[in-house]
Each structure stands twice: as structure tokens, then as C-alpha cells.
Amino acid sequence: MDYLADFGAKLGLHMNVLKSNSFMAGDHDVETILSSTQLSRGTMPFQYLDIPLAVERLKNARTILNVLAQYEELSNQYVNCDKSTIYFDKHDIHKREILCRLAITDGQLSFMYLRVSLFVGVPRKSHLEPIADQRLFKDEATEEKGERARMASFVGAVAIADLVKTTLGPKGMDKILQSTGRGHSVTVTNDGATILKSLHIDNPAAKVLVDISKVQDDEVGDGTTSVVVLAGELLREAEKLVHTKIHPMTIISGYRMAAECARNALLEKVVDNKLDAEKFKTDLMKIAMTTLSSKILSQDKEHFAKLAVDAVMRLKGSTNLESIQIIKKPGGSLKDSFLDEGFILDKKIGVGQPKRIENAKILVANTAMDTDKVKIYGARVRVDSMAKVAEIEVAEKEKMREKVQKIINHGINCFVNRQLIYNFPEELFADAGILAIEHADFDGIERLALVTGGEIASTFDNPESVKLGHCKLIEEIMIGEDKLIHFSGVEMGQACTIVLRGASPHMLDEAERSLHDALCVLSQTVNDSRVLFGGGWPEMVMAKAVDELARKTPGKKSHAIEAFSRALVAIPTIIADNAGLDSAELVAQRAEHHKEGSTAGIDVISGSVGDMAELGISEAFKVKNAVLLSATEAAEMILRVDEIITCAPRRREDRM
């Protein structure tokens, strides 16, 4: 122990007993030493900078050499024996021998590195770091450069693309998503956007892909999987090109040219049937069927395609899908789903009120029907006797009665409120023979106002200026076990309700998503009526045009353009693969067909090359266009990156 004190004095440092470990060279007196020094006993192997140093007793040079070799391997640095010093335990008898063997100079304490004394007590990692490594970033922030950065983004993006790849096409498979939140709720879907939205992704490049799929969902509603797959394929091809030493910028400019060319090729081939209403409707029908065929609804796609087309035609060109209400009721089968021309509100009629009203005049309101608060700031009721309380209560009731009376004065027989209706006013309404519906949510109210043509009222002083809504019949209907309120014969036919029936909530959720996709696509198509054939036909057309461009383009860019065409062909290949068909054979066959500029595509159902025009497989131009553009844009963005800097993740309290 004297030795330790001596050591401390020499260094001008105190040993922190609690932080130090003593390593016992022999095994005699261990207990005594430990108890007298209060040092905790260290265990072998001794770790320094995370590298086990003294694996066993440093008896001879071989052990040290082994340690050094291990160190070299881990740190990617060679140990320069000439520059290194070695520090010995005072009792080491093999010192001289080792020094001769290794040609390392004997170091003296205190240890200095760049003239800074390093070891304070036991060497710690933090002492070396500021000098050894000029750190730019905060802890845990990482930086990846050049090839590694590119590799990281390629790997991430391609992994995401591969993940959703199997859901592509009519025979694509679904994914089960289990949430980590409470209840571990389960979603079954093959909608690309839904899958990606629920993934927790760390890779920044993968996030870019998730983002484009989300945008695709917002903008056109469908093609969320295709866009990710195409971007992934583009990156996969780009990776190969980068390996053959083609600069990313060259690839990008090639891709841009190719995308432009592909788009033009599509534009040439579009069919626009806007003027012919009948044909347009069949187009819509085809598009809806194509979209739905890759979803859970494919069994009844005709039924649902009809539903969707009808619903969208009602919108008369508006893209506001909110006026199409989708109500999900478990029970029955998917076939039992129907489109209702009127409007269905998922609410119950108040007790004692008429269950059926013909020629209804509806007042849609957003007003408080509990106690009407005094809105003037700071007002409060202060009374000094019970009698007064009663008086005020009466006044309050009177106030409410007046309000109800005013509402009744509108000459209505149906009152729908967004907020709660208390028992008292409800009773009053019942007395007047008025159907009162409370707590219709905001969307419901807006939709109802839209459907019935009334306006949402909040004050009731001048009945003549408030527009009332009208409908022919209000009645309570039963769907499955639930009672709903049905408004039929409404004035404005814009809104409608689709009631989905199905075996389980998961099924219904997925059906809703599928229907939503179809509706989105249709509503977009109504505005931009250009239509293309489906079944991988557009990809082949584009690939052909792009290939031609590649032949014409001089220089390195042509490689990139060729790669683009390969990526395009990958999509029909994947569709065929997912259907369990011989993709190589089919694609080749189709390429043959395409020489004559036909309308051949993959007929997944029969597993052969078929005529898309005959099979009635169509897709909206807008969707394909968006897929092409966003995929190229995303690929370009990821390609341009040559460095990834990740900040330290913000620490969160673990709430679990």
C-alpha cells in the first residue's frame, strides 16, 4: 500500500479508490489487500478502450504481441513499435526480455501525450479522445461519407422496395402489421402507403421512399407501392452503374432524360374519352376494376367498381372525397355492401320522437343545447338564498325553452345538432314532434348540410334568413344489429354513403382502404380523363422508347438510360413473379408483341400474354405519370447524396 501512496505522490494526483480496480498478480493475500485498500477487485480480461488488454498475466512478449495484434485489428491502425512506449508493473521480472523482443522503449510515468498528462488515476477513455480524435460532432452524432454513405442509402432504399415488392399486382400478398402500442392491434393490408406509414424506419434514404409513397397517396391515392418499387429498382440499377465507376451526376442526367422520354411516350399513347360520356364511364369502370383487383375486394371487384364509379360520378368533378361517406358495419359478407343515394348518419333517434318523417325540413345546427353559457368574461352567479337559486334555475330553463321555441319556429321537423342535446330540450323537441339528433360529429354535420342543402346555423333569431335542408324521408334503418338514421330523397345529390359489410373489422378496414384508393383514382381521372392500359403495358411502352433513346444518346449517359429502361421492365417482372408465373418468359414474349405496337400486357389470371384492350385493364394516366415522376425524383435525390450526417437522437423518457 505504500507503493500506491508513493505512486499518488509522484504524480501529484490522488488515487480515487472507489474508481480503481486492482489486478492481482499472484493470488496470495488477496483478501487482505482488498480489504485494506478498499479497492474493488478487477476481473480479467482487463479492458482498456474497450479492448481487452491483459488477457492473462503479461508474462512474456508473445502475450503482448497478441494483444497488440488484436488492438491493430480493432482500431485499423498499426502500432509503431519505435514510437510506442510500454509501461510495466514494477514487479515485472520479464521486463528486459520483452523490451528486447519488441523493440519498444520503456516508458516512464507520468504518461504524457502531446504534453498533456493523461492518466489521472486509472486511464479513462475520455482522456485520450479529445486529442486522439478531432471531434467535430456532439456525442453519438455520426457521419458517413462517400461510398459508405451511398451504400447505406442504397441498401436502405432497396430494402424498403423489396419489403413492399411482394404486394404488387393482382396476385400480390398482404402484410400483417402489428402495432407496438397498447392492445397490439393488427392491420392486414397490401396498400403500400399504409405499410410504410406504420414502419419505424431509421435509415434516412428509406425515409425518403416512405415520404414519396405518402405523397402519392395524398395526391392520386393509388400506385403507392409502384412508386416505391420503381424508385428502388432505379436505385438498384444506379448502384450497379456506380460500381462500374460512372459518376452519380451522370446517372442522374441520364435518368432525367429517360424520364422525360418515358413521359412523352406515355403521352403519345393515352386515350382520352372525355367527350364520349358512355365510353368514359366504361373507362372509369375499367380503372376501378384494375385498381381493386389488387386488393382484398378483388372477388367482388365488379360490384365495388360499380359502387365507386357511381359515387364518384355523383361528385360531378369535385375531388372532395369527404362527401363520400364510408360506414363500416361488421357482419354479412362483402357482397352485401351497398351504395346509398341518400345519407346515413350513424346515430340514434331521441326517445319518444317520431321514427319516420316524410318531407322533412331539417335544421342543421352547431350550438350548445346543454346549459347556454354566459359568454361575457368574468360573469358568475352569486346568490344568497335557496329561493334565488330556484329563480335562476327557472330563468335558465326559460332561456332554454325560448331557444328551443325559436328553433321550432323555423318550421322544422328535424333538428340535427353537432353538440350534445340535454334531456330537457330533447323533451321539448319530442313534445313538438320534432326529431332531434345530437352529437353528430363535425364531418357528419358538414356532409349533412351539403346533402340536404341547408346551412349550419348557430343563432336562431331570424328564421326567415336561415336556409333549411330538405329531404323526402327520414327513417331509422337497421344494418346488422345497429340502428342508423337514413335520409333519403335529398336535394343535392353530391354526397352519398357507401356501407361496407364484411366478416371482420380487419377485413372492413382493408376494404375501406381499397375503396378509398379506387375513389381517389377515379376522382382524379374525372378531372384528367386520360387513360392508359394496365398490366405492365405502359412500362413496356416506356421501356421501349427509353431504349431507343439510349441507342441515340452518345456518351456515358446511355448506360444510365438503359438502366432506367431495365428498372421499368422490373415492374411487370415483379407482377408476374408475384403471380407465380415465369416472368422471364412472359416479359420476353411481351417484348416480342410490342414490336408491332400492340396493346399486349400480362394477363395474370390466365398466366399468359393478353390483349389489355380486350381484357379491359386500364389505368389512369395521372397515376402512372405521378409514379414515374416521383420515383425518378426520389432516386435522384438519394443518388445526389454523398454524405450522411446523423445527429444524436433526442433522448426521450421511456414511458413504457
Binding site: 415520404d211 350550438t367 360573469a379 335562476i392 445527429c647
Partner: protein, 535 residues
């Protein structure tokens, strides 16, 4: 050192708690600083020029930013090192002053530091190096002024402006449609510019982005776009010849600041209060209506009752409009912001030719366009793009282009880009170096070498042989006495930047040189770094 020994050889401590601080002194300090400055510059070096690469940055919350804007990269980089922070400041101040060239300035500073390191190794005192750099930067500064060209443009002839903006945009991801974006930027700047005073208030240009559509759909709107919709779904979606009341008071009963209580103790009081309340709402709406407003824009929310009354009286309204937007609307429409209903008068109303609500995509995204304003000084650039990152990057690029256009209006001198200005300065500084006696000569020469770093990086990023290309261009400049020779990044086939139409603003370039030199001087003067070690 803080540790000294007394006559018996026992150590004692001079500065307390020394063991808890890390300390670097003298040459070590300078070297350490230089190497961290260089590290920052190295990160940005690859982003320089039209073929520069982007960086992907992941924030602490996991959001991803992809950019090649120097200022943005550095800002989000989560830098810990002190010197690196200085470099971040450097690029930020270039961003504030000029708006463009934020990458260039850091690369320049990095090159200067690199040269300084070599000089330090030869034993030249850091202060002498700093002084030499100062002299050299002055020479370069004056030389830039000499080689600068003035070009004339008017409201009708905006081509030169567009060309300059295009140079800025060509290094960004949006270079696919740089032409249209450059035109948008120039038009926007000209719309708000005060050509007589040569001043541009960029606050009047609002840059708004919405995900969806494609880059080509980006448009310039002579008016304001507000990301809000009408307060009541059934209000008219389009108003022509709108007279706009701009309010900062809520449509709610007043809330006096002084503490007060309204006690209700009788039935009568209860009823009068009720009536008052109703009257209050009525009055508010009536007042707006009376002055002739056809649209109400309010900073606060409305009570449901007020909302309905407005609807009832056919007075469309927009609520929860942000303060900045409110000001812009006031400027654009020539209206006044009214803080109280009582002060509403017809003169204070703003005028706009057309107000309309526009829907986007399949989700219920609606925005309100206020167009044909009485005073079209405020404009909005509305960006569309494939995804959020694209929009953010486009915003930054547009910002740069706007700044460049503004700088040109302030001062219409330009220098040629593509590294030509740097090469020319380098030649001039090199030549001037020989005239200075003393140690500074070396520093000045080093400065000239550092200037070469920018064209070198340009050439490197464009996949050219850096040294070969640079020396070829340099000799061409001297031989032909043509200061417009630069690096042919886009492989067009000519070195003459005049033919390629690659311009940069003179003040931008000058600022780059000055700022870089200043920071390097500062870094060189540091000889002791004391920092508490962390644990």
C-alpha cells in the same frame, strides 16, 4: 504547465482543478484548430458547383433533410467543436449578408487554413500569416472590382438577371427547371423592388410550399396565399372585388385586462346579461358589414355564434391567420390592421380583385388565394414538388436565387463564375506577392494558392482532372489576358464563362473573400484552448 515542482521535487498545482480541464497550447492549439476547420471545409467541399453532391442530414427527431446548401448543412450538423462552430457562424453570416455562396466561403476558409498550416510548419509566426492574408485579401478585393462588369437591365430587360439566378440554381437539385424558377425569382424580386432606392424588401416575398404536383407547377402569384380555409364550410369560395377587413381582435365578447366580476344575483340581471351578449355579437358583425367589408380576415378564432352570424349576413371570413401573413395581406391589399371593432372605417379596408379558395389533391387541403391586390408589392412563390424534402430544398434554392437577384438590383456589378474570378484573383495576388518584402510575401503567395482551391474543387466535383484543368485554365487566362476563363463544369466545350452565361454577383464574391479571411485570421490568433473535459 500547471504542474510545477518545488526544490524537493514534489509537485504542486498552480491552477486549480487542472485535471478536469483539457488544455491545448501553442502550436498544438493552432494545429488542432486548423485541422478541425479543415474537417468542416472537407465536408462541404464536395457540394460545390453544379455537379456537387448533396448531403443527407438526420435531425435528432429523425427528420431527414437533403440539401447542398452550405448554410443549411452546417446549421443542422450538430457541431460540437469550437472552431467548427466558428465555421458554421461564417457560413451563416454569408447567408445573412448575401444569401448565396455559403458553401464557397467555407471551402475558401478551409483552403486558407490548409495553407496556413504549411506556413506554420516552416516556423512563420501566425500573426505574420494573418497580416499577409489581410494584405492579400485586399489585393484580391480590389482586383475583383477591376475585373467586374457592370450590366444594365431595366424592368423590361431582365435577361441578365435571369441568367445570374440560373447560375445560382444550377448547383441545386432543382436545376431541372432552373429557367422557370429563375424567371419566377426575378419577377418576384422586380415586383417588390424599389428600383429608385435600389432596395428590395425580401420580407414581401412569401415562399409557400405544398407537397404534391411537380416542380414545374411552381408558380408566382401576384398576391398572397394563405394556408387556411373559410371559417364556415358554406361560405362563398370566390369573392370578386373584395374589400377586406383585417382584424386582430377575436369575435368574442371582450376580455378586459383589469380583473372584474359580474355578479348575477337576480333573474333580471341574468336576462339583461343574455341580451347584452347577443347584442354584442350582433354589433360586431354589423360593424364589419356597415363599413362595407366583403371579407373578414381575423387573427383569432370565432365563436360558433359569431361564425354563423357572419355566414348569415353573407360575410365570408378567415380565421386563425398568422401575424406575419396578416401583415403581408395588409401590405398587399393596402388595408390597415384594425385592433378593435370600433375603429373599423371604410378607409381601413384592404382591396383585392379576387379572393378564391383552391383545393389540392385528394386530401382536404385548401388554400386561399388573394389576388389582384390594390398594391401588388407583395407576391407569393408557390412551390409544388414530389415530396417534403424536395419542397424544403426548393425553398432554400429559391431563397438563394432571390438574394442574388436582390444583390444585383442593389449593385449591378457581376464577375464571371465557374472559378474564373478566383483564378484571376490568384494570378493577381501571386504577381503582387513579389512586391512585398518580408515574411508576408509567403503568406500572400499562400493566399493565392488557397484561391485556387475553389476552381480545383469545382473541377474535381465535375469529374475533371483538377490540377490539369486548373493549370490549363490559368495559362489560358494569362495568355489571352481574359479573365472570363473558368472551369467547364457542364462539359459544354468552352472555357469562356461569358459564352456559358455563368455569372455571380460582385458583392457576393467580395464578401466571400473578406469573411473567409477574417475567420481564418481569428482562428490563427488562438494559441490556447481550455475546455472543461466532460464527465
Amino acid at each position: 504547465m500547471a504542474l510545477a515542482f518545488d526544490e524537493y521535487g514534489r509537485p504542486f498545482i498552480i491552477i486549480r482543478e487542472q485535471e478536469q480541464k483539457t488544455r491545448l497550447r501553442g502550436l498544438d492549439a493552432q494545429k488542432a484548430n486548423i485541422s478541425s476547420g479543415k474537417a468542416v471545409a472537407r465536408i462541404l467541399r464536395t457540394s460545390l458547383g453544379p455537379k456537387g453532391m448533396d448531403k443527407m442530414l438526420q435531425s435528432p427527431d429523425g427528420d431527414v433533410t437533403i440539401t447542398n446548401d452550405g448554410a443549411t448543412i452546417l446549421e443542422q450538423m450538430d457541431v460540437d467543436n469550437q472552431i467548427a462552430k466558428l465555421m458554421v457562424e461564417l457560413s451563416r453570416s454569408q447567408d445573412y449578408e448575401i444569401g448565396d455562396g455559403t458553401t464557397g466561403v467555407v471551402v475558401m476558409a478551409g483552403a486558407l487554413l490548409e495553407q496556413a498550416e504549411k506556413l506554420l510548419e516552416r516556423g512563420i509566426h501566425p500573426i505574420r500569416i494573418a497580416e499577409g492574408y489581410e494584405v492579400a485579401s485586399r489585393i484580391a478585393f480590389e482586383h475583383l472590382e477591376r475585373i467586374a462588369h457592370k450590366f444594365e437591365f431595366g424592368a423590361s430587360d431582365v435577361e441578365p438577371l435571369v441568367q445570374t439566378c440560373m447560375t445560382t440554381l444550377s448547383s441545386k437539385i432543382v436545376n431541372r427547371c432552373k429557367r422557370s424558377l429563375a424567371e419566377i425569382a426575378v419577377k418576384a424580386v422586380l415586383a417588390v423592388a424599389d428600383l429608385e432606392r435600389k432596395d428590395v424588401n425580401l420580407d414581401l416575398i412569401k415562399v409557400e410550399g405544398k407537397v404534391g404536383g411537380k416542380l414545374e407547377d411552381t408558380e408566382l402569384i401576384y398576391g398572397i396565399v394563405v394556408d387556411k380555409d373559410m371559417s364556415h364550410p358554406q361560405m362563398p369560395k370566390q369573392i370578386e372585388d373584395a374589400r377586406i377587413a383585417i382584424l386582430t381582435c377575436p369575435f368574442e365578447p371582450p376580455k378586459p385586462k383589469t380583473k372584474h366580476k359580474v355578479d348575477i344575483d337576480t333573474v333580471e340581471k341574468f336576462q339583461t346579461l343574455r341580451q347584452q351578449e347577443q347584442k354584442y355579437f350582433d354589433d360586431m358583425v354589423q360593424q364589419c358589414k356597415d363599413v362595407g367589408a366583403t371579407l373578414v380576415i381575423c387573427q383569432w378564432g370565432f365563436d360558433d355564434e359569431a361564425n354563423h352570424l357572419l355566414m348569415n349576413r353573407n360575410l365570408p371570413a378567415v380565421r386563425w391567420v398568422g401575424g406575419v401573413e396578416l401583415e403581408l395581406i395588409a401590405i398587399a391589399t393596402g388595408g390597415r390592421i384594425v385592433p378593435r371593432f370600433q375603429e373599423l372605417t371604410p378607409e381601413k379596408l384592404g382591396k383585392a380583385g379576387l379572393v378564391r379558395e383552391k383545393a389540392f389533391g385528394t386530401t382536404k387541403d385548401r388554400m386561399i388565394y388573394i389576388e389582384h391586390c390594390a398594391n401588388s408589392r407583395a407576391v407569393t412563390i408557390f412551390i409544388r414538388g414530389g415530396n417534403k424534402m424536395m419542397i424544403e430544398e426548393t425553398k432554400r434554392s429559391i431563397h438563394d436565387a432571390l438574394c442574388v437577384a436582390r444583390n444585383l438590383i442593389r449593385n449591378n456589378s457581376i464577375v464571371y463564375g465557374g472559378g474564373s474570378a478566383e483564378i484571376s484573383c490568384s494570378i493577381a495576388v501571386e504577381a503582387a506577392a513579389d512586391k512585398y518584402p518580408g515574411v508576408e510575401q509567403y503568406a500572400i503567395r499562400a493566399f493565392a494558392d488557397a484561391l485556387d482551391a475553389i476552381p480545383m474543387a469545382l473541377a474535381e466535383n465535375s469529374g475533371l482532372q483538377p490540377i490539369e484543368t486548373l493549370s490549363a485554365v490559368k495559362s489560358q487566362q494569362i495568355k489571352e489576358n481574359n479573365t472570363c476563363c473558368g472551369i467547364d463544369c457542364n462539359d459544354v466545350g468552352t472555357n469562356d464563362m461569358r459564352e456559358q452565361n455563368v455569372f455571380e454577383t460582385l458583392i457576393g464574391k467580395q464578401q466571400q473573400l473578406l469573411l473567409a479571411t477574417q475567420v481564418v485570421k481569428m482562428i490563427l490568433k488562438i494559441d490556447d484552448v481550455i475546455s472543461p473535459s466532460e464527465y
